[in-house]
Amino acid sequence: MSLLEVKKLTKYFGGLSAVSNVNLELKSNELVGLIGPNGAGKTTLFNLLTGVYQPSEGTIDIENDGKKESVVGKKTYTITDMGFGRTFQNIRLFKDLTVLDNVLIAMHSKSKVGTLKSILRLPSYYASEEKMKQEAIELLKIFSLENKISELAKNLPYGEQRRLEIVRALATKPKVLFLDEPAAGMNPQETADLTALIRQIQKDFKMTILLIEHDMSLVMNVCERIYVLEYGRMIAHGTPEEIKANDQVIKAYLGGE
């Protein structure tokens, strides 16, 4: 059984279909790439998966304790709770908050710290607060951000902001991690570091990752399988070697004859 199963997913905006009839499958602990030219519908697909948009047709199921659960029609925050973590193409950190707060916020929904408990400051409040903080710092350490915990997110250099986005997504304890162009705007060295990091996340966290990326070298390097989207349709799917050799993909990318 696959961890994530998307079938015949379609989204119309007005009369146009931004995503049509898309099938996609992720197995546990897989690192899969999603590529396609600009405007192919990659981010729309992400937004459908995470409940930001509601699909017009099709199903999205996640495996939970051996059972299939549909995420269609659920609110974004419920979907996050069910195990979908994401980053944003155009970084959406809580800019005016500290690095630590950014991570703690992502941990909130699983922490089950109630409002009344917080206002009354019962002893157990301090315990759970302390535990959350330790966990957050542990997570930040993996991404070498532990020295920046009280820095405001907006003051981090670009590459670190991208990394913090990933930390934040991981802090929601997802089953599947959706990375939306994590290497956008990075130089080759930063991209190489990121590549290593994504591999490490997959290994250390036993994480299943779906990666949208423009940077071909990154995708070809790390992904086990690749899906190719063009004009909202899945035109190809296979191993990096197969994709490299696929005529349709070459055509889509080179705008060939």
């Binding site: 981010t43 937004n47 930001v52 948009y53 944003f88």
Partner: protein, 292 residues
């Protein structure tokens, strides 16, 4: 039945005035997403300009109306340039608070210069009553219908057919894209304030004539109700403001006539809450989701 039709006519008169004010709210909201709290006070200033023009300069109805529209329009543009333009990139709450500040300033400025007393608006129009089968229509009511009708046709023409109107629609759809297409966004926004404020000024003069009295706080309640009208019709949508204005005017008149005039305002605000719960986008509106 006769009283019902009579009340309909009264309701339409009041509704026309709300519609004129609501248009300014809706256009400004459509273009910069601001609830322009000062808009009701521009309507008040319009009434005072009309009053002064007729009283001190001996103008007739039409010259006074046009002058009030022109000066209100200028005031609207001035407010936009001085108070709102520097905040183009600020948070929406900041702009909203500024608008409240401007509203306070206009009210208290007028209070300071004119005093809190209610003034009688000079009756430049003979108050003739036309009676058709027991239903009475006053000349002032006819004037309100006529003026509102002409102004709305004119507005539709400007928005739909002229270059500036096209620019307004473009900016309200996507300001940065409009800018890239060579549209002067700042001027377009100013022009929107110009149009909206002139309509409010006209409404001020008409109300002065209709109710005979004006005072510096007269803009508060009609301002809020016109805003409710704009929300009811679908904020940002011009025909919506017209429909909303007329609807609110009629409902308000009917509640006064057949129910309790004390709860008239509560009913209007109750409708507002109801729309927000049932159909927040308004009668003509569509729900749009933020792009991620």
């Amino acid at each position: 039945m006769d009283t019902f039709i009579q009340q309909m006519i009264n309701g339409l008169s009041l509704g026309s005035i709300y519609a004129l004010i609501a248009l300014g709210y809706t256009m400004v909201y459509g273009i910069i997403k601001l609830i322009n709290f000062a808009h009701g006070d521009i309507y008040m200033v319009g009434a005072f300009v009309g009053y002064t023009m007729i009283n001190s300069f001996g103008m007739g109805f039409f010259p006074a109306l046009v002058t009030a529209m022109a000066l209100s329009a200028l005031l609207g543009v001035l407010i936009e340039r001085i108070a709102y333009k520097p905040l183009r990139n600020a948070t929406r709450i900041a702009v909203l608070i500024t608008a409240i500040g401007v509203s306070y300033l206009l009210q208290n400025g007028m209070l300071y210069f004119y005093g809190a007393g209610v003034r009688a608006f000079p009756q430049v129009l003979e108050n003739k009553l036309y009676s058709v089968g027991g239903i009475k229509v006053s000349q002032i009511q006819l004037m309100i219908f006529g003026t509102t009708f002409i102004l709305m046709i004119l507005l539709q023409f400007i928005v739909q057919k002229t270059k500036m109107g096209k620019a307004m629609r473009a900016v309200s759809t996507d300001a940065s894209a409009a800018q890239l297409m060579g549209i002067n966004v700042d001027n377009t926004i100013s022009f929107t304030f110009f149009l909206g404020s002139s309509l409010a000024g006209a409404a001020g003069v008409l109300v002065g004539l209709y109710y005979n009295t004006i005072d510096p706080m007269m803009g508060v309640a009609p301002g809020l109700k016109a805003f409710v009208a704009a929300v009811l019709g679908g904020i940002g949508i011009i025909p919506g403001a017209m429909i909303g204005g007329l609807t609110i005017g009629i409902i308000e008149t009917m509640v006064s006539a057949y129910g309790n005039s004390m709860i008239r305002d509560a009913v209007v605000y109750g409708i507002l809450i109801l729309i927000l719960i049932i159909r927040p986008a308004g009668i003509l509106g569509k729900h749009v989701k933020e792009k991620v």
